[in-house]
Amino acid sequence: MSIRKIVTLTEDVLIEGGRDVTPNARVAVVAAIVKNPWAGQGFVEDLSPGIDGNASDIGALLAPRVLEALGAPAEAYGKAAIVGLNGEIEHGSGLIHTLAFGNHFRDAANATTLLPAVEKRGPAGVVFDIPLKHITDATIRSHHQSIEVRINDAPHADEIVIALAAAAQGRPQQRLAAFATETK
């Protein structure tokens, strides 16, 4: 696994809709900029050796860091794979859509649900939004949220940005009806 850079982002919201958010709402992201394991190899039919050789290590690196950056128990979480322009979206998907990657975060956060994800391809500096949902019940509407990320010089064409996001709470000023309560 070749990692060029690790990026940490936290956003604390103090005011939303003109009203105080108490306690402040925090969302954290940690991203690793890794070399695309399949760079320069043309179309690789079997991605499993590259997945087996990298996905678990990246998950193990990011999970404790994002929880440390959050500084509180995670209530919602999500993940991202942003593939540089020379790669396939399937390459990023391969690294994050495996239990070997996600279980590090799931176990560390005492979570049970699937991690919502964004996968896309773009140039260095591409803006991407990581979706987050509740860690034990993906129908808990108050916790549906997203965080915007941009890394100025990543991904290079032969790189992939792999990121985890965690929120310590639902949306600031959340006040929608719970899932299924408004249906007849």
Partner: protein, 202 residues
């Protein structure tokens, strides 16, 4: 006075730890970071000749305290911080002077130097822009501004700020030099004049 009463909507921390640059680990590892506060512009609707001093005294010290605290807490303490820089992005309903007021007076700069135990002038960038604009924040050594190894930058950006009525105030810091810095220093530079480089500039 609490942060909300001062109009602080959001605090954003961003850091980059470089493990490889051109394939090689930096001999001296460093983390670069920014801490940014999104605040309501206290001077909206004022005149271009208004005295800005009263609000500077109320707001700028709080921002200096808060942003230095965020950076020190995340970077391993004040001792770990070697370089610093600052920036302001004013929303489109404000004056560039409003951003300058928050970062270019002793009520911000002197306090940042005191809290970071630095002595240098703090290098800066400022701009007026829509939400989501990115700005490159220059950093240099907190005690010896001419130390070339520490000339570096970090890009700051917040997706939903500044709104037209807001100002984003940014403090940047680094725990070390550029990766693989190797372009000499004032002590090792040759004397360079037009005559020295000859035909290249004639």
């Amino acid at each position: 006075m609490n942060d909300q009463r001062l109009g602080i909507r959001k605090i954003v921390y961003y850091s980059e730890e470089i493990l490889l640059e051109n394939g090689l680990s930096p001999a001296v590892p460093a983390v670069r970071a920014t801490a940014a506060a999104v605040v309501t512009n206290p001077w909206l609707g004022g005149e271009a000749t208004d005295d800005l001093g009263e609000d500077v005294v109320q707001l700028a010290p709080v921002l200096a305290r808060k942003l230095t605290d965020v950076l020190a807490a995340n970077l391993g303490g004040v001792e770990a911080i070697q370089a610093f820089g600052k920036a302001a992005i004013v929303g489109t309903n404000g004056e560039i002077e409003h951003g300058a007021a928050l970062i270019h007076t002793p009520f911000f700069g002197n306090l940042v130097r005191e809290f970071f135990e630095g002595e240098s002038i703090i290098c800066f960038a400022d701009d007026r822009a829509d939400a989501g604009a990115s700005l490159v924040v220059p950093l240099w050594h907190k005690n010896a501004a001419a130390t070339r190894t520490h000339y570096q930058t970090i890009t700051t950006r917040i997706g939903d700020a500044p709104r037209p009525d807001e100002i984003v105030v940014v403090l940047g810091a680094s725990t070390g030099p550029r990766p693989h810095s190797r372009i000499g220093d004032r002590l090792t530079d040759p004397i360079v004049k037009a005559d020295t480089v000859g035909e290249l500039v004639s």
